[in-house]
Amino acid sequence: QKSSVQTIGEEQVQNPYTELLVLKGHQDIVRFLVQIDDCRFASAGDDGIIFLWNAQTGEKLFELHGHTHKITAITPFSSSDSSEENNHLILTASADRTVIVWDCATGRQVQKVSCFHSTVKCLTVLQRLDVWLSGGSDLCVWNRKLDLLCKTSHLTDAGISALLELPKNCVAAAVGKELIIFRLIASSDKSEGWNVFEVKRLVDHQDNILSLVSVNDLTFVTGSHVGELIVWDALDWTKQASECNFWDSSVHPEAQPEIKLSQSPNETSVQHLASDEECVFAAVGKGIYVYNLQMKRVIACQRTAHDSSVLHIETLPNRQLMSCSEDGSVRIWELREKQQLPAEPVPTGFFNMWGFGRANKQANQAAKKVQENTPMHFLELVGDLIGHSSAVQMFLYFGELGLATCSADHLIILWKDGERESRLRSLTLFQKLAQDSDLQLK
């Protein structure tokens, strides 16, 4: 059976990205992008090198060498006190069982911790407490000076796959199928010490928890490999709602029946979650689902948003959504309300003379079943970015500065608004002209 990926033609009026800049440097898959400040970001991947980039110019600022294996986690750690300016640090964890702290201003290694018994798979900074946590086979709490404040006992060999900060000094750690809630309590003897205690173990998921996202102070959401989505209360860690039948055609009667046939864990795993105040956006298999927290149901979905698994999903302003996938593309969606109108075919792609593309694909009208008294929502594809030749691992949205995408083809691409860039260049040009005071002086 043919998949029915929605395609958009070459005419993309709403797609602002009309200029791209390829950043080369990595020698292996680039998996992580983190924003450092307004115009800088770091990239890391399997080659163990971290690059710092200027998001505006694409200039390579620093090349950080220190890890001998691939990077497994990266997080920025900016200074909490405002007196110290530009004190941006990044923490990187690697399969070489070390964590390195880097200074983003100088590009130098500040400190290196290598006392781990296993690979650190996730890093979280608790800004309020000015500590950071590393999650591997156990959970460690560190302060800024890289003193180990406390650690848990050995949890599992598989280790913590994800960490999420919760209110009241709590942390949710995904360990396999379990979700463990830890609480940090200031130690009585030392002024700056913390102790960590396991508070609760939640075992509602049937399979490995892959994604964790905090919606607001009261709610967080988890997603598992078999497509379960559970909404939790962030304070008392009770299950508020769950959705586990994304693939179930009975829930979505319009969905094509073949989905059921091709059902497999990969097709249904919740790879990534994003949320705004109202909705949780779930990247499930190749599709994107919009779950409304108030209505407690999926209000819109795009079953095959991409040709293969969606790896990362993020919300943009204006009810837009961006997703990237193993198929090497990035797509921009818009959540639209639709009145009671018959489904119109989405504009199809123009003919493809080469016959390799998916010509004449029918648009998959991804509208939800019409509910009598609610507006119908649907995800409209407003643009796609094709540049990478391999899976796009992650992207980083920089607002009007543009978008950075990283991929398994070792490249990072900076996507920019061509109009804006052109304007900026004009501005620079006239500034330079004023400096030179004459064209000929160049």
Binding site: T18, E19, L21, F350, D409, L411, S422, F430
Partner: protein, 935 residues
Amino acid sequence: MISAPDVVAFTREEELGDELYREPPLPEEYSVPLLPFGGPGANPWAKAASSKFSRDFILISEFSEQVGPQPLLTIPDDAKVPGSFDLNYFSLRIMSVDYQASFVGHPPGCAYPKLNFVEDSKVVLGDSKEGAFAYVHHLTLYDLEARGFVRPFCMAYISADEHKIMQQFQELSAEFSKASECLKTGNRKAFASELEKKLKDLDYTRTVLHNETEIQKKANDKGYYTTQAIEKANELASVEKSIIEHQDLLKQIRSYPYRKLKDSDFHPYEPDCALDRAGSGSEQDLAAPELAEPGETHLYSRLPSYTPKLIKAKPAKCFDKKLKTLEELCDIYFFTQTLDQLHQIERTFRGDVCYLLTNQISRALLKQQKVTNFLFEDVSFLDEKAPEKQYRGCQGLGQDAANRKCSGESSTPRVVISLGSYKSSVECVPIKMEQDIEDPQEPTMTESVTFEHQENLDYLDADLKGSISSGESIEVLGTEKSVSGLMKSESQASLPISPSPQVGRSKVGSRRTVSEDSIEVLSTCPSESLIPEDFKASYPSAINEEPYVDDEEGGLRFTPRLNPDNADEQEDLSNQENLAQIDSACCIGKESPNFLEPLPGLGQKQCDEDGVVRIPPQPYRQAEQGLHGGFVGSVPCDSASGGLLPHELDSRYPTGSREVSRTSLDECSDSTSYISSAASTCSDRTPSPAHPACLANERHKKKAGQNALRFIRQYPFAHPAIYSLLSGRTLIVLGEDEAIVKKLVTALSIFVPNCGAYAKPVKHWVTSPLHVVDFQKWKLIGLQRTVSPAGVNVLHALSRYSRYVSILDADSKTLRCPLYKGTVVSRLADHRTQIKRGSTYYMHVQSVLTQLCSKAFLFTFCHHLHLPINEREPEESVVNRRMNFLKLHLGLANEDIKIVQYLAELLKLQYIQEPGQGVNPLLRFDYVPSFLYKI
């Protein structure tokens, strides 16, 4: 290109006058001057002159001391070029305007023959009867066997167009000076090595003679000397004198570069690719001189040392001896370089003067388009040094004169006279040796024995005798000159610069001084130790003209004792005068009697009573050793060079040059459907010239233009394809056949704007799948289509990135690209164009593109089009203003706007680029639908 030289504008002032006045005038530096000759409406092309030759050529002639003026070679070396033009007659004409007083000989007050370092002279000569006009560049080369050691040569650029010679005088002069400098450098080198060999011979001869004398002395125990013994002694004396003279000559020739280096202006000729070729050159050079017999030559070139031989031969009669050819006179490497340069000149100045001028003007103007010229101009051209502008004034010559003066004043001890170059004077300039020469080493004492034209001096070579140039011969030259003087002076009236002959002339002479140190000079070693290592004949590139340093240590020391007693000398004097009278007509110079006044007391000092050399000469073996040592250093250099053997070099050269000229002739008729345009009928006798630096480019342009013409005629969808290129959308030419694809790529490459001052973003042939990086880097790509699985990948990548590219399928003749509805491209590529020639079409394209560039420039640098006038102005109104400007002011329609916007973007990027780093390669694209075009 600012203007297409093929399309020279006719502007009638009366028609345009009124309109022009209303417009603000162009800034001076941007105005294109009207053609300098001919009033309004005049034909800019040169009139077809009634010349007998078909195209311009370069003639090299010599004033042979044996047969008079004779042509040596023409460039191009093709008998058809001069046609029925009488080269012999013209040689006579051009050689007769030589104003260099090439005196060499025994100047008054100087004992030794002096080399004259003569500046070249440059004159313009016309022969209206023959319809020939020529730029004539005179130079002298040194030849040990020639009269006065000099051989006058001249190189002439002969054209039927008088204007051309006049207009291009400066350029011609500069280029020919380069060639001349090259030739003279090579000649000095060859001359020096010849002198060295001669010295070896003389030294050897002296040793032999001395031994004979010793034997005689021993055998003869009577109280008196036999006539035989006296003869031998005399012989010995003259050999020694000859040695000293030759040493002096060697010193002079070597000191030349040193002296010249003091002139700020003087740049010793430096070959750029010397290393690999020079080695072979020197070998040839060693073999060239006739001094050595063939067998020895061979030996010599193989063995590191030169075997001297006894000089016994009676001087050959003037007309018997064979003069060296031009090639033999010059180090082969430099000779080849010179020929290269001359060929270059010929190519540069080929074609109509109108073309040349327009080309120069447009070149000069382009240089000023610093902001935009990178877009469509040749990168190589932008880098290359522009030919000197014709209106650069006379600083050059003024400087020359100053330098000449300078060289005179800063006379180093060994300065001989330096005569200025005489460009227009008819008069004979007597050389006065008046400036004092404080050379302590100036050998003066031997004067007393200078010339003894005795029968027993038979071992003295003719060249010494020939080294005195007589006054008579100059007079002869003078009369020849005066004949042509009239005609020449009229042509000179319109010369851009006609320097006054008096300005540059410096009368530097030398006054003999009696010096105590003279003995030291005499004991100067004959050769090796004196020679700066670099100047040894064996050294591959003796161009390294270093300061000449006297080094008296370690050499072969000998102290010549000059034997003739006074009685002999007096006798000789009278004899000599008689002989000189007779010989002067031939080639032996005559010296005025006062020259010969012997210095009292000198000469005797070193002589014993017996008048025979007392100190036995050192065995020559030692000299050989030293020489050997001198060569050792050069041997590895020779082998290391590993370059071409001399004969290879030699044989390669002419074929290469012929090839060039042939192909360029072919280029002329590059179009089978050649229709000579009305404008070019009278001037198209020769193909249009190419600038030397971009000859290949020129050919490429023609080819590209021709292919592009074919493309726009063949493909009805040429317009959208060209639009893709102009708007920065990568065009991919897809095909199975590499040749066809490459041809198309070449054709289309002329429409590709450069993204920076680098090579064009054109990739002719790619076989692997493309990535987004490729579109960032290349704007025109030739891509292989294969049926293999790899080929499928290639096509898959293509379809994936189809939004960034336009695809021209060369096999199925289809094009997939966005729609184009503008007007610019239809002007650029009209398939019904009347243009027939590739180069013309190329120029047409260039001029349309230049128009686009200027629009892009205006658009880019109009402040208010991009920035709000005040802070409150919303962005939309700026955008509106921008679009209005593009549409209304620049008159652009539809997609043409995108072209200009793209060019503007490139201009911005180029301008704001920091000097150190290159332009960040970014890919701009639009989300526009593509369409499929079929034939």
